[in-house]
């Protein structure tokens, strides 16, 4: 039963419950018009304490396509948050007006606090460098639709794995499916946090941490790219030495399997060359569309109107 639940962490829902959401998303993809009035009387509040383009648009469009209405703020300066209001007080107030709340916050764990004070469902739309569970739902629906399975996959995550919340969420979620292996490709400075590798080790899941993409790309079923930002490096020499190692281009794609797929949470800023876009294995823009459908399914399920 998903009605009334919060989504704070990609593992809050069991694989069976995720299938329920994905199956409903598939129904929406088949005939979207059929669901145009599903949320006619509902209101979604979007509380974005830091800027976002695609996640906020995706949620807002998802609700509008279900016939619901949207209120909220896209930056804290335009709300009572600027006056120093706590997360708890903001949520208690907003929950009086809205049926479901989506929150993005720069501080890690903020949506969990929100959920502790909210009588209506809270969805984490990204908290600091921590988690981004609805991006993970997007990623899982994409993988399920393209690969027709979520098990037995070798998943490569490349780029900034330290601060990349989409990667943390993806690893956490896909590590629950049997047979998945991980190859984590990043400079030493940007390796995944200890809690991520501790989780994998505790579950006995195979993972490798490497520095070069070209050495492992041929072993992957899925390549999940993220951006390596210059400001994350401790010194410029390391950045100059490593930046090209994490750029995916047509030349590196020649080393990959014919059925490997390339994913990216977007926006990209140079880490995937434009010559990859025409490759049939590039799925990052299709992924964005899956994101809208899966958010439609999620909203409907949490409101209990599906």
């Amino acid at each position: 039963m998903l009605k009334g639940r919060h989504l704070l962490d990609p593992t809050d829902f069991s694989p069976g419950e995720l299938d329920e959401i994905f199956d409903f998303a598939d129904q929406i993809i088949q005939s979207p018009a059929q669901f145009n009035h599903l949320c006619d009387s509902s209101i979604l509040a979007t509380l974005f304490y830091e800027p976002s383009t695609r996640t906020r648009f995706s949620f807002e469009v998802a609700m509008l396509r279900l016939g619901g209405k949207v209120v909220g703020f896209s930056e804290p300066t335009s709300s009572s948050v600027a006056k120093g209001e706590s997360v708890a007080d903001t949520i208690r107030t907003v929950a009086c007006y809205a049926d479901i709340i989506v929150m993005r916050h720069p501080k890690e764990g903020a949506p969990r606090i929100a959920s502790e004070y909210s009588p209506v469902p809270v969805i984490n739309a990204g908290d600091g460098g921590h988690l981004h569970p609805t991006q993970t739902l997007t990623d899982l629906l994409t993988i399920r639709s393209v690969k027709h399975q979520l098990t037995g996959l070798t998943i490569g995550c490349c780029g900034d794995l330290k601060f990349g919340r989409t990667v943390h969420s993806l690893i956490k979620a896909t590590s629950r499916y049997p047979g998945n292996k991980f190859i984590l490709i990043s400079p030493k400075e940007l390796r995944v946090p200890d809690y991520v590798t501790a989780d994998l080790a505790a579950k006995g899941i195979t993972f490798q941490e490497v520095e070069r993409l070209d050495e492992v790309i041929g072993n992957l079923d899925i390549l999940y790219m993220t951006r390596v930002q210059k400001e994350r490096f401790f010194n410029e020499d390391d950045y100059v030495r490593l930046k090209d190692v994490y750029i995916l281009n047509a030349e590196k794609m020649r080393l990959a399997r014919k059925d490997m797929i390339v994913m990216h949470p977007l926006p990209r800023v140079g880490e995937i060359a434009y010559d990859v876009d025409s490759d049939p294995r590039a799925y990052y823009f299709k992924q964005a569309k899956f994101g809208m459908y899966v958010r439609m399914a999620l909203i409907a399920k949490l409101l209990g109107v599906s």
């Binding site: 890690e108 903020a110 921590h130 946090p193 501790a198």
Partner: protein, 143 residues
């Protein structure tokens, strides 16, 4: 040679990893004690090489699990009439509230001060706790 007399009634916290004794001393509030206390640092130990010891000349009542959060290998000896009457090995609690502070500057608990600092035990062998909000790992004896 440093000589510290044995105590008649009280508590001896032994086998403290060298260097952690002072943290335990302050955590127990012994710096404000109005009874005799001794912190012995870097004492020679057959098994540990060097260790810290705390001697408290008073039957104080404190939560021994809190000691485990600093060093899970300590032994708490209860002394009566100059004899050890009980030995306690503290166990790591499953959940701790407002004892460990999250060291992640990006954690929401760093700004929303009304939120309790809640950690749950994730690996007893490694002494690892996880922040309920940001998942930051705290390792007993290391952090």
């Amino acid at each position: 040679m440093l000589t510290i007399t044995s105590i008649k009634n009280g508590i001896v916290i032994d086998h403290i990893h060298a260097g952690l004794g002072i943290r335990m001393f302050y955590q127990l509030g012994l710096d404000k004690a109005d009874y005799s206390v001794a912190l012995i640092m870097n004492a020679a130990s057959t098994h540990m090489g060097r260790k810290d010891i705390i001697k408290i000349e008073n039957n104080v009542d404190f939560d021994v699990t809190m000691l485990a959060l600093i060093d899970p290998n300590v032994t708490v000896n209860v002394i009566e009439d100059e004899h050890i009457v009980r030995k306690v090995k503290p166990e790591l609690p499953e959940r701790v509230e407002d004892i460990i502070t999250c060291k992640n500057p990006r954690c929401i608990t760093s700004v929303e001060k009304y939120v309790p600092q809640v950690f749950t035990l994730v690996n007893r062998e490694l002494g690892q706790y996880r922040c309920q909000y940001c998942d930051e790992i705290y390792t007993v004896g290391k952090d």
